[in-house]
Subunit: 191 residues, 4 copies
């Protein structure tokens, strides 16, 4: 079975997720800076989430490029990943509207953590279809970033109990770490 | 006429349906657990509906894979299915916001029942185009799950008059039954 | 230049239009029939608009199937059509929320009329690219339905000043007339 | 790496942006002209933004047509462009709801300016992949419109401090200037 429709459907869902997040920035009724100011934290959390969803799309793009065929298990592992990504607009809005409060930041980290786990499961499901010619396994290699990230999200979630700013800093740091695109698969597939 | 655009359009509509359902989870204004709690039933109904829409996308994907060409009748049978799927966000929100009340659960079952009937009509419309080489008919076979499901939805709708919990249990049970991907078509089409 | 991306973009926009119309059916807060009843006119107008957008997608699908290449003029004629289609959710919600009042029905007809004109302009723009081999011109033929519809919409708009029910009946009648898929192009292109 | 998925994802995001803008036109509760009138400025700003997003889709379409392959840098430059485009619904709604006030018009210009810069960066990123066979560089040529536009947006932003109408006139003027489709790339790529 081809992977074209899986990619198209994922593209559609991710495109909608990344776009409807902006709907959490409600148009203010006034026209001065005072009316706009309350939106500043919503805008900051929107930028962070846009980058995260962009990273997921980017890596998903690379991973499926290295996929050779699609099984029922891969389809459901992919839907599982999309489920957690679909919660981004909600936690983004919650974090933004509550000025980076502790509990919203913990839930934000929870969604990041579950999405990272879902991504890992999808990666394993695709690898399981490539036992003879492990294209993706070679490309992924040791996958240092993929293993560090969930640990950092877990630390961030715990840290919200003490100092929410630590969690915020970790989320930004992990995003910056991933902004470097995943050249491993490109190298393996390249030329 | 090719089926590519039919698949692309269906993917788009299903991707939007599965994603806008999350908009029914309104961002709470408070930042504590008390503010989040009222969303628990909305979240549970979101999970169930996400799984159902995922099942439809999955089976639609398999069915159209076995379609050989597309007629005007197939196009409209497909739009008819998409119409009933498009009501998922509404009934999901209604069930969730009213804590699994009887009438919302009955309407939820009504949408499930109509979508199942629409899926069956689409299946027949595609089969009607394959009279010489019945790829889909062979693949679908006896279609036990496709025949049991509408009966179970009907029982669930009636049960809401007595005990809404029965309906909820049936909807979850049918979803679990379908989560096993439809290997029949995969087997028939397989290499 | 290929027409694939034009079709993909149009599919995306039409898929979103047909799906976000359902957001006008706001989830009621009560769980009884009394809470649901006010939504009946919104639901009826949703069905009508779903059918209209489905007709446009269907005919657009056929028309672009007969297009051979895409110019800048075709791109903009297509965007012009999408603009009028994008107003469907607004007029549908307005008609539904005001129980088929005269002015909302007149505006609904106005959007139908402008979309029909935009469709005609797009058809002419595609024909203008096929002067040597007029595939689309042959397929469209006399285009009786395409010429009657705008006249009927105009009559409906005027009729709202006297009796809004006439306009509603005309919109339903034109939709039924178009539900018969456009076999002319299919025949012309057919194997 | 192919550019198909990049185009598909961009099409999806742009299709959603252009469509959800219409959601800022809230359905009025009354059914007379008085209820509709407050929406006039929202409708006007919707038309202008629809044209701008259409221009971006159009030019993006042409530019990627002239792209030969896609690198990580191109992927992120594209996401950066989509980020600024995703702010169109917000600034459009803000401008419309505040009857073309000075600050909303300045922010509108800010988003136009940032999108223009992001488009330029994407253009450079694609050109950087074509050093041996500069298809895009030849096609773009001197790019007069691409260089004038940001300057005009900057003038418009400053002008809002004195007379917001100047800014509005500039935004309309630049849109009209771009409505002439970019025939340079078409000519260069043409048969």
């Amino acid at each position: 079975m081809g992977k074209g429709r899986l990619e198209a459907f994922s593209d559609g869902v991710i495109a909608i997720i990344i776009t409807i997040m902006v709907l959490e920035m409600k148009v203010p009724h006034g026209e001065n800076l005072a009316a706009l100011m309350p939106l500043a934290p919503v805008f900051l959390s929107y930028i962070l989430s846009f980058v995260y969803v962009g990273i997921y799309w980017n890596n998903h793009h690379h991973m499926l490029h290295a996929a050779t065929h699609v099984t029922g298990g891969v389809l459901w592992a992919n839907l599982h990943l999309l489920f957690w990504l679909s919660l981004f607009p909600f936690v983004t809005g919650w974090v933004g509207e509550n000025h980076f409060g502790a509990l919203p930041l913990a839930f934000y980290g929870g969604v990041l953590l579950m999405a990272a786990i879902a991504y890992y499961i999808l990666q394993r499901a695709i690898m399981a279809t490539q036992q003879e010619n492990p294209v993706l396994a070679k490309a992924v290699g040791r996958d240092v970033k993929g293993k560090i990230s969930p640990a950092l999200y877990a630390i961030a979630i715990v840290s919200t109990a003490f100092e929410p700013k630590i969690a915020g800093a970790i989320y930004i740091g992990v995003a910056l770490m991933w902004l470097v695109p995943d050249r491993r698969i490109e190298r393996q597939m390249g030329a």
